[in-house]
Amino acid sequence: MAKKALKYVIIGDGHAGNSAAETLRRGSPDADIAIISAKPTHYFDHSMLASFLLDKKDITSLYLYPYTWYKEHTIRLRLNQTVIRVDPGKHELMLAHNERMHYDRLLVASGAKPKLPESLSRYKGLLTMFTDAVDAMKLRERLGKLKHVTMVGGDCIGLHLAGSMLKLGKSITCILNEYSFWPLEYDTSVKDKLIEGLKKKHIEVLADDITTEIVKEGTGLTVMTKNGKIIKTDLAFLTSGMIPNIDFLDGSGIDVQTGILVDEYMHTSAQDVWAAGECATVYYPELKDYRQSTGEVNAKMLGNISARNMLDEKKAVSLAEPGKITIGGEDFITYGWKGFSIDV
């Protein structure tokens, strides 16, 4: 008797989720494949968001696949639906609208969310996020009114965004803190180079300083720092790195540290559950250690490897090829993060 096709459920419509879905479909033409995403938008490239601000294109211009692709590949797409619980024992998960979904094999590819440092949690409502297409859409509507923006933290996402802000003629202050340059290492040598690069781009840099208070004033904000600096700004972006988006796994029994712990085959501690992309903390045999996954390149690659393992191929991970970020003529090496330059 022919083997029954399995039901694969993927939590996450990002690079990891889509690359896995594509691989699964290729490897198992009859499988039932569903992608769930809490977001209303389709699969897109986050690295395009900064340049999306510069033109007037429709949000759909960001989408990497036309929706017909999912039809052609018979992949069910469940957008705007949030997973609130996973029960690996029962092989089921729960969606916020009270729907229980069964799976045979589950891939968690739920990405990451902005990290809100404890010291800033009081100001959450005053900080602007720039993490998805909707944020970009909303920001674009407000651009005309902005003169000055502040990057609270200065991670790579913020720096990329700063590049577009410069092109739009906005002046920028970067308050570099311990989370700066996430996901890259922020050691002293990098720090000096980065400050140098940013200054060359006429970005005001407040190094070794931290935000202590944010106050709303009229339509703008006043940001105060530990070193006594007072910045009048129109928007303060939270750019202090990202942390895995895995709250819904609470109580699932799946082992997590920063992210979901997976072995070199991307398998989690739970039977029939894999994880990939920015939600995963991956064991690399080359490093003999775990590393938190960040960046598009990693997400795509790990999504693909997870899927191959979900299809019973024993495929271990390896480190991604290095990429490059350029800021004010200074180059920085990335691993798994598709590089960019704010100089061009």
């Binding site: 469940r78 029962k90 969606l95 916020a96």
Partner: protein
């Protein structure tokens, strides 16, 4: 975030469905929505669906189309589907366009939905809903209630979840205001002005519902939820149009017929309830007494037409309305009124047949019956209005023609025309149409001949009570006095006279059929009748914009036919398409009895109206063939 959508702000029309089970009050929400869209300047047409068996059980769908431009038909595809009951709304997804929007309750009460089992047969599972898995029992047969619509959308569709149940509870302490919460969400999502919505909410519910404030709170809560929580990505949006539609009223065909009867001075309505004509009787039983008339609910349709016949004889304008099964019972009296030259108006709102057939589904399959019912040579006038506006105009005309030509006039509607609501502005009826009787002159009264042979076939008609106006009335053939006779000459002359007056009606009172589209020679011409005409007109509108060589002829008076003009139209057309909602092509057959032209038939017995997109496809097919 709610809001405006891209400025697509609809060139074309938007079709919306609100789907629920009984008790969800989907139809009430639909009524408020369509009225609001009409108030802000849109042309609207709505056609609700409810189950055949008993109203109030099972699935109900408020279906409406709204557009900036005038339109007469429904679209096959739905743009916005609002689910008040997922188990039913899932079935409606097959009509949703690939980039359509779904609104659903994302925090339902006491329900745990189940997703499709991976190994269930997909079609079966889709029909039944998904399986429920338990370790003990494995997959259990699902019930339809186990399904959420969220798992069934196509990949290009937009899903918006609103906690309808929770917001309804919060504002009204009960769950049945979910239909109002969703209207608030619609207002915010599709930019429908709040003010007009609230006016209509108050107008519809205010009188009945003491708790109108909490109802408005439910509406506001739905609106606010969308503004605060939903990111609108779909392109659909309305706006308040700067057009004056003060003279427009929302009405369905039944209301239009009833209104015409009142305005024409109808004093007796006799009928027996039958879908879809019952509402005519309901309206008239409220209204006629206020206008000095009466409504008699008879024991059956034979009695109903009998009452109307008696009133006609007595000179009182009278009408009955029925549907196919009832019309069958009336057949004998059609012949009787032809023979006795008595004016009666019979409305037949067609539904799927034969026999009891499909009581709640539309069809155009009573045409043969309307044209031929009765024994012997029984000429009669048959008119088939094509819109609510024409239901008014042609019911009025039916009274006029019946009286003027002393004959039965049959108004052929159908369920779609009867029940679909549109915003229409009615043309006033000219005064001279309000009394068509050819009264005898003093000269005539010297020796009154009820069946006098005249050039136009119409005899002077004395009403009972007129001095010396004695007359014998029966179903027997007669001479000029009305005395029964059976000789060759009398029967021949009288039969000719009865046909002659219909010919006179044709010459004097049947307007030229309206030709629309390209003049002169065309590749494809469409000739249509009844409610399908709306779909043809909408299709033509779109095709003409593409510069194609098409035209249509709208025929309202089916008997007598304007043969010369129809022939001229046929001469202009390379191909003639006849779309109709019946299997045989009854109108095409009728035309074939009169003309030589080859006709391309487009017949459907789809239990729903033909849509403009279907006609458009068919015309394009013929153009390309």
């Amino acid at each position: 975030m709610g809001g405006k959508g891209s400025p697509l702000t609809y060139e074309k029309s938007l079709t919306i469905e609100i789907c629920g089970s009984s008790g969800d009050r989907a139809l009430a929400a639909g009524e408020i929505l369509i009225k609001t869209l009409s108030d802000i300047g849109y042309h609207v047409i709505s056609f609700d669906a409810y189950p055949a068996e008993i109203r109030g059980f099972g699935k109900t769908v408020a279906h409406m189309r709204a557009g900036r431009e005038f339109m007469l038909s429904l679209s096959r595809k739905v743009d916005i589907l609002i689910s008040l009951s997922d188990r039913y709304a899932i079935e409606q997804l097959r009509n949703l366009n690939d980039e359509g929007v779904v609104l659903f309750d994302n925090r339902p009460n006491n329900v745990v939905y189940e997703d499709l089992p991976h190994d269930a047969d997909q079609t079966e599972a889709h029909r039944l809903g998904p399986g429920v898995y338990t370790e003990k029992e494995g997959w259990k047969t699902p019930t339809k209630d186990d399904v959420s619509i969220a798992g069934h959308l196509g990949p290009g569709m937009y899903l918006y979840g609103i906690p309808l149940y929770q917001l309804s509870q919060k504002t009204t302490n009960e769950s049945r205001s979910r239909n109002i919460v969703v209207l608030g969400a619609v207002a915010a999502l599709f930019n429908v002005p709040e003010k007009e919505f609230i006016n209509n909410l108050t107008a519809k519910l205010g009188k009945k519902d003491k708790s109108i404030e909490s109802i408005i709170a439910a509406f506001e809560e739905g609106r606010r939820y969308v503004i605060e929580n939903i990111v609108k990505l779909d392109p659909y949006s309305f706006e308040k149009l700067s057009v004056d539609r003060k003279s427009y009223r929302l009405m369905d065909g039944n209301k239009a017929v009833a209104q015409a009867a009142i305005d024409m001075g109808c004093k007796l309505y006799a009928g027996y309830p039958i879908t879809p004509a019952t509402k005519i009787m309901e309206i008239l039983s409220d209204e006629l007494p206020r206008h000095g008339g009466v409504v008699v609910q008879t024991e059956d349709e034979i009695s109903a037409i009998g009452h109307v016949t008696g009133a006609g004889f007595a000179g009182v304008r009278a009408m009955t309305a029925t549907s196919g099964p009832g019309f069958c019972l009336m057949t004998e009296f059609i012949g009787y009124n032809v023979m006795s030259e008595n004016p009666i108006v019979v409305v037949d709102s067609q539904r799927g047949g034969p026999a009891t057939g499909l009581p709640t589904k539309t069809e155009q399959s009573d045409l043969n019956h309307a044209l031929f019912a009765g024994n012997g040579d029984t000429p009669r006038i048959v008119v088939a209005p094509t819109s609510a506006k024409e239901c008014y105009q042609w019911t009025a005309e039916a009274f006029y023609l019946a009286e003027k030509y002393q004959t039965p006039v049959i108004v052929l509607m159908d369920l779609f025309l009867s029940l679909s609501v549109r915003n229409v502005s009615l043309d006033p009826i000219p005064d001279y149409k309000k009394g068509g009787n050819k009264f005898p002159t003093q000269e005539d009264m010297k020796l009154y001949l009820r069946q006098k042979i005249t050039d136009d076939g119409v005899s002077p008609r004395a009403l009972p009570g007129l001095e010396n106006g004695y007359q014998a009335v029966s179903g027997l053939e007669q001479n000029e006095y009305g005395t029964p006779v059976y000789d060759e000459l009398s029967h021949t002359r009288m039969t000719e006279k009865r046909f002659r007056k219909i010919q006179t009606a044709l010459e004097n009172d049947v307007p030229l059929p309206q030709r629309i589209g390209v003049s002169g020679r065309v590749k494809v011409g469409v000739i249509s009748w009844g409610s399908t005409t709306g779909a043809v007109m909408d299709a033509l509108d779109s095709i003409l914009k593409q510069g194609k060589s098409v035209a249509m002829l709208k025929v309202i008076v089916i008997n007598p036919l304007r043969e010369k003009e129809i022939q001229a139209f046929f001469d202009d057309c390379e191909k003639v398409l006849v779309p109709e909602l019946n299997y045989e092509g009854q109108f095409a057959n009728w035309l074939s009895m009169h003309f030589q032209k080859k006709l391309y038939r487009y017949n459907k017995v789809a239990a729903r109206p033909i849509t403009h997109d279907e006609i458009e496809e068919e015309i394009n097919r013929l153009l390309e063939e």
